[in-house]
Symmetry: C2
Subunit: 336 residues, 2 copies
């Protein structure tokens, strides 16, 4: 068995001393550490290091976590330390400290590669929180290649200029760009930028040193197929999330009301962790998810019946034009 | 697709009018209905009937639920209506109404069958909440057959005399009996009575009209095998539950402290819904579950590493004698 208390093989800044200082300042007796799935395995190591600095009881949150929208805070702990995501300014939750765990990977080599794919001339630069500190250097590199660059300020769901979340692309829409350069690993955020803006996105992954162009058209076609299938449904189950930053109960009620008015059967189910097997108990010909917008987009194939976003459900109800596909997002307040 | 709003095929008392009255009295605007897994499918039907009586927004709780220890209450709703379990008096939770959904099945026919298996002479009668109202008639039937019957009062974790929970058998232990008669479906509670008391239990299932004698010895042997396997472990992950009535954080801390003092590695993970895949992120050579005591007993085979109860962990640590097997339980306050 691997020693769970070992250091990670890659150097990561878990801000141990800062956390120890906060514990002392707050006179915290019990704290909880919450990591996203990709970092969870470092939990015992981080807990051990904190306890070397200060005398505090440390709990690890064992529940799944995919964003700063999902804060595992309750009365049991004096402080929650949430790793790997930036704070969502629009959410006011007390006694949470965010450790963003920025990456120190050099992004310029993959930006150099990406230059061969960028057409420009006006490029919007976006990233996730892990690389937000690199955006100025990325901008300088692009400008030195003759491109016009913008880094937009998103709404209050995001913390940093140029930062996007899986559910919020306001920083991308805030700029007038011909296309976008996304810096970061995986396809998740880059695909979201493409879906949210309708523009071409060049994704530059500094970890795998790979570039790609996400195919938003393919996803849009899949979504229309799901919407078409849901047109035959008579019974809808509308899901309302109970995670801190995924609550849209009023929207859920509004959708059910619209559906009932139009002669459909509809009911509302609150769910914390949405999985296919949770839904076996709630038969419906289609589901509408008002919680995380990405479940419908990214996990569609896991569900036996169509899983719609609220916007797609409005298409089904005839409340919204089918001609323009709009990605469901969680919006914050607009920044001045 | 079945019509999810249809009545159940068996008549059940969901106390629709009583709920509607409570809604009016409390001027509740939003309520949540929570059902255990076996009743969840009636949620849409019950919601619809409540809305026929009173103008209230009704949510169904979609999260798994296995007991009154797991109350899905948060700030979002004015009232939680919890079905299928009796209130746990030891838990003070506001704004919860319990609908016990008693069964109207006649238990006497299967008690007559069970008489052939009962040796006596002193019989303790136990059941789950669905049948507590039948215990006096069961007692009379047994006494007419010449047996001495007792129905014990449990601690404040249970509401009714003779009632047992999966995690509390205080009402069984409260009486001096040679053996027990358990009235109810399934093997879950009857097995618990046998494990908790060390006595023979005759289980009388009025739904399937079947009697059985749970084999507690087999389970005890399995538990010793799990304990023996855990004796080789060096790293322990101690699980602390976050469901309302499954919290034993102090016990979790105490166990980790004991383990560390004895030179083991140990860390604490808080978990809401415990599943095998939740644990993949938390490597350990053995787990200790301070949440639901039945997970280790009933779901042992689901986990790749030994899953111990706190009492079993004390055996592993050498803090407790191996010679007597004691079932882990959640205790309330003793009743006068």
């Amino acid at each position: 068995m691997p020693n769970v208390f070992d250091r990670p093989s890659v150097e990561m800044d878990f801000e141990i001393e800062r956390i120890a200082k906060l514990v002392e300042e707050d006179q915290a007796r019990v704290i909880r550490l919450q990591f996203p799935e990709g970092l969870k395995r470092y939990g015992p190591h981080v807990a051990k290091r904190i306890k070397q600095h200060t005398d505090v009881a440390v709990l690890l949150s064992g529940d799944p976590c995919y964003g700063a929208c999902d804060l595992d805070c309750d009365g049991e702990v004096d402080l929650l330390v949430h790793f790997g995501h930036a704070e969502i300014p629009a959410l006011t939750v007390k006694k949470v400290h965010f450790v963003e765990v920025r990456s120190d990977v050099d992004v310029i080599p993959i930006v150099n590669e990406a230059l061969g794919l960028i057409k420009g001339p006006r490029v919007g630069i976006v990233t996730n929180v892990q690389h937000v500190h690199t955006l100025d250097s990325v901008r300088r590199r692009l400008e030195s290649a003759g491109l016009q660059c913008s880094i937009g300020s998103g709404d209050s769901r995001t913390k940093y200029p140029g930062q996007v979340l899986g559910c919020n692309f306001s920083s991308a829409r805030a700029v007038d760009a011909d296309e976008y350069l996304y810096i970061g690993g995986g396809a998740f955020h880059a695909l979201g930028v493409a879906l949210a803006t309708g523009k071409r996105v060049v994704a530059a992954d500094p970890f795998l040193h790979r570039t790609s162009i996400p195919d938003a058209d393919l996803i849009v076609k899949q979504r229309y197929a799901v919407v078409a299938k849901a047109l035959d449904a008579q019974t809808f189950c509308v899901l309302a999330g109970t995670k801190t930053g995924q609550r849209r109960l009023d929207l859920a009620f509004e959708l059910v009301e619209h559906a009932v008015k139009r002669g459909y059967d509809a009911y509302t189910v609150t769910i914390n962790e949405l999985t296919p097997w949770t839904l076996y108990q709630f038969p419906a010909e289609a589901y509408v998810n008002t919680a995380c917008p990405r479940v419908a987009i990214d996990d569609a194939s896991l569900f036996k019946a169509p899983m719609l976003t609220p916007i797609e459900f409005e298409m089904v109800l005839g409340k919204r034009n089918l001609s323009e596909y709009i990605l469901d997002e969680f919006s914050g307040a607009t920044r001045r």
